[in-house]
Subunit: 353 residues, 4 copies
């Protein structure tokens, strides 16, 4: 979905280089040819098919940019460029410790389309600019809610911080316990706003359910902030050693390995290497490869913070709320405020709703 | 439920005056006699019956304090003392404007029991100190979730702030719009955490459903902060006139009424009195009678902030989360972390859950 | 200074009623006659003289509004209208307890000028619209720094919260101590930004010193938020009794006075009335008369929050900071960034500075 | 100063391995021999001399740990172990772009002392455990104030964020401007609390000036939070490309270099490489090598957050503030509160102060 966008103060058709948004360059009897590039494609390298779609509201002059279609991941004309991530080369060092989280990591790639063909039967939209905004909004409604996944990542970070505090011998301190409570409070806020959006899903005409858009935006907007605060608190509990700790090669060295095992020991019944591995995990999640997913992608994935604020603003039913206030303030008459706009239907199973 | 509590560093039986927690003073064949006082009883003056119950975890020596029973609201020996509220006497001034919110307000009373009788058939607990903590926790689980109601009050305040901004002629300014979005974002967080707790309810052995306790505490904990921030933003949008505005008697005065109508005018198509009424409503909700309910009661009702933090701390499954972290950090073996404690059942309909 | 402003989306000369900004209505050989109204005049009722001045940047068409002059407080044509404050009438009840803070309070009045005369020798500006903005900025530079005074009020509230925690028997709890630390941290931030602005004062051409404008705005901007958080924490430590406590007349009553003294007791060595007085003081400072000064006036006095953000934005030297970033990023050449704009002079006594 | 500390729940003499705090192992006529290790030594590799000193309050049984002395950086028995930093090996790639900030970086090392000799004339403390706490407090008073330096780093990050926003074509958007204002507001808070602490310095008996300890702690405590928020906002303004951008080798590649220059273009008059360099600078400061100094070291250097809270708590003069509150609440007599403890001397040049 995400075009590279060029100069963001200009619409697609206004760009100096029209290729900065994916668009149709040629039409034949059999289909269309597209050109452009999509950025930040998480997991595209593991996929068999890709579906291209517009990334923003389009105007009548953006007609060629209103293209939705499916292409095989290995279609001629596609180039993938793998992105760098913080600390990515630690995985090439043959590391068993420094590259933690040792088991999992993610990647993003940029996908460049140089005259890629989409046959007619795989085209789902072509030129219907009026529907681009609705398409984007429905997609982001689902996608923003899906950021509830970060609460699972947060649980790991809470666990890592608690385990390091234990290894440091400070897990009984009241301020340590309180910070773990704060991290949990924030993390459960992500979790519960995410699931609330799903529980409030309503069927569309097609019968497909669409989750609550307001709450999906509230959830994602918290995700642009709370993981950063959870990460900050994890660094607080980890201690400075997380960023000054010698490398695993030093630990493995005949000359100084024993010295490090001696001096980097925390609580005497917990192996030094366990403590170091936990610190590397927190480094990985707050500065390293997984910080890309846990922090920066939490910020920008499924729309940057301002995109959620715009969407919350669109749905905040100010006119209805102003009527509520006016009535309580004794402005105007006694008649009840008509419950237009779904305000009550959202909360109660009323006769109207 | 809420005893007056005396010296909070001491258990009920340790108080210099045992009456500071409601307790049984005498037992007969027919029932028990109780003495003590309950504070902050919202709505008790509108009730027909009251149920008294313990307010905290009790130990074996607190046996006489483990009493639950029903009493008619007009039972002999009961004294009600009505509490003061900020700006309460404005309602006695014959006000039509200064006392806004003109339609609704609440009250709290202190209830003093001087040897009040409870017959055997209305006693539901007597001396079972072991169950006092569970009783309190279940009650607060329901009660903390019920604070979702503050999101309705928040909607009114958002509406009032928007209406005043309009009357001031600044509703198109980007920072004004952004503050309304922020208020909505916070308010919807209260709403969605509240309903999420209900949606995640599970049946107990009795068949009665109990809502999710972790999320109920997360919801209530936000309620101890977010209404204050929403209130602060409402005061920001209202402008300083909210606290320097002349009284309604000045407005009604022959001598200066017209001057006030002239000089307190905002946008010329909105009557001065409308603007004044909206400002009085915000004053009422952030400093006056309804601030008691929207702010201070949001802080302390159903348990003060620290009570939620304790409850979140109890349920945060640190051992399980530490295992998750250790496994990703490569500490210990390869075997999966056993999903004890309901971690996965809470999220997924798994075979175990 | 603060005109009543009418419709804020319009300049003075665009208002439907020109009187909504103080302006010259007539000029004679001896002086000028003015008309209009100033809002929120703290302490004007204690003053011998008033100086009127414009409240915002003026354009060429606002010429009649560019008037600065001195008038005696009792000049013919002036009307004062005293503002209402939350809980103001408690002072009329003959209270000894409910109206606390018993010793001090403030007031604001609206000042209406109906053709008030200013003789030539007391006119300091008349029509020089170009200088209105500079006049406002210099005034607010001093005035915003002066909000450091709220840190003194904050100290009282910290003391009141600590004293109530003591009376409640919870002053040894770690979370209580931590909240007092947080209140102090915030309050000292106000104090230290305030004094830093003064210490960084520089002489103007006249020899008069002007304090640092950036820091004055940073100080005042914190004052629009931190007192609200300090007040919230004070309410947390006070407990709900602050808003449900019976009135002083109940305490004085023969019938129930003793009951209240018995049941509102906290720690047994502290008189009930002491506890009640402290609670009333916190009520007074967070909901009552002094909340007007400590909260809402902290928000709007010397300019509402957005006014500080505009002023911070004007002075943030983005061009210089962009150059710093470009150089470290290796964009452009090796030559040092020229220290224009006073960046270094502000920090170091350099040769240029 | 910072010992490796082992199990933090135990005093130095209680550790299973006494070497976890630097201590005297042997005394001779000529001097003492020490053993132990100091962690997180910023810049030690650039130094000629090191001064070892205790890291915390010591008790009578910690006598051997109360050692202060100077040692040459190349004294026999010292081992330095260089710490890893996020993205450190990018500097070994022969990078011209990915390793930005290209000009500067820092390092920390662990210093291990295996029986290092200190001659008598270089010993400044030996066994005076009573003075260890005062020594630590004075050192941290200076050191915490010195964290004002992070406001200079913050200025660079503000500049980088502004420059990227410009390259993205969004620098005119109101929310972008507002985020730059917020970053500046936070950054100037660090700056002004830092300089306020210095301006309030008082001479000690020796004639040496000691800066204000309360404000130094307030400054450092903000430094444990505000850079994280400034960093978060910088990532917001940077956009997701910061973490998904291809490597400089891809940019240099014959095959796809031109494609990247085409598709990673922002505003058409700004070279793609300029935009990429700025993004790498922000990555470097929020996730990479300089994030170590700007974030994690801001957290833990000169004491972790809780250390500042303890120090603020010690100096918050609660007894004096409680007296202020009691007097305003009408508790006790009319006599003025005696200004003990330096409360007024700190603010005013009074006769007593």
């Amino acid at each position: 979905m995400t075009d590279v966008k060029g100069d963001r103060s200009k619409a697609p058709h206004q760009q100096d280089d029209p290729d900065l948004y994916v668009h149709v360059t040629r039409r034949t009897e059999e289909g269309v040819w597209i050109r452009g590039a999509k950025a930040h494609q998480t997991g595209c390298l593991n996929s068999h098919w890709m579906i291209v779609m517009p990334t923003l509201r389009l105007g009548p002059e953006d007609r060629d940019f209103a293209i939705v279609g499916a292409v095989p991941a290995d279609a001629p004309g596609i180039t993938y460029v793998y992105g760098r991530q913080s600390c990515d080369t630690r995985h090439l060092e043959g590391s068993r410790l420094d590259a933690d989280n040792a088991r999992f990591s993610g990647q993003e790639a940029m996908v460049i389309f140089e005259d890629v063909f989409i046959p007619n039967h795989l085209i789902f939209m072509d030129g219907e600019t009026d529907y681009a905004a609705m398409l984007v909004e429905r997609f982001t409604c689902y996608h923003r809610r899906s950021y509830v996944c970060k609460s699972g990542v947060g649980d790991v970070l809470i666990g890592a911080a608690a385990a390091v505090a234990e290894a440091n011998g400070v897990d009984k301190a009241s301020h340590v316990k309180d910070k773990l409570v704060e991290m949990t409070h924030l993390n459960e806020t992500i979790y519960s706003t995410g699931i609330a959006s799903s529980y409030q899903a309503k069927p569309m005409k097609s019968g497909v359910y669409l989750n609550d858009d307001m709450i999906a935006n509230v959830c994602k907007h918290h995700v642009t902030k709370m993981p950063y605060e959870i990460g900050r608190l994890a660094q607080d509990l980890a201690g400075g050693l997380m960023v000054t700790m010698p490398s695993e090669r030093d630990l493995d060295s005949d000359e100084i390995g024993d010295l490090l095992r001696k001096y980097l020991k925390g609580r005497s019944d917990i192996p030094t290497e366990t403590r170091m591995r936990l610190l590397r995990l927190i480094e990985n999640m707050t500065l390293g490869r997984n910080a890309v997913g846990y922090l920066t992608e939490s910020m920008h994935g499924a729309g940057s913070p301002q995109a959620q604020r715009i969407q919350i603003g669109r749905q905040m039913e100010l006119d209805y709320k102003k009527q509520l206030a006016r009535r309580l303030a004794g402005v105007g008459g006694e008649e009840p405020v008509p419950a237009e706009g779904g305000y009550f239907e959202r909360v109660f199973e009323t006769e109207e709703g």
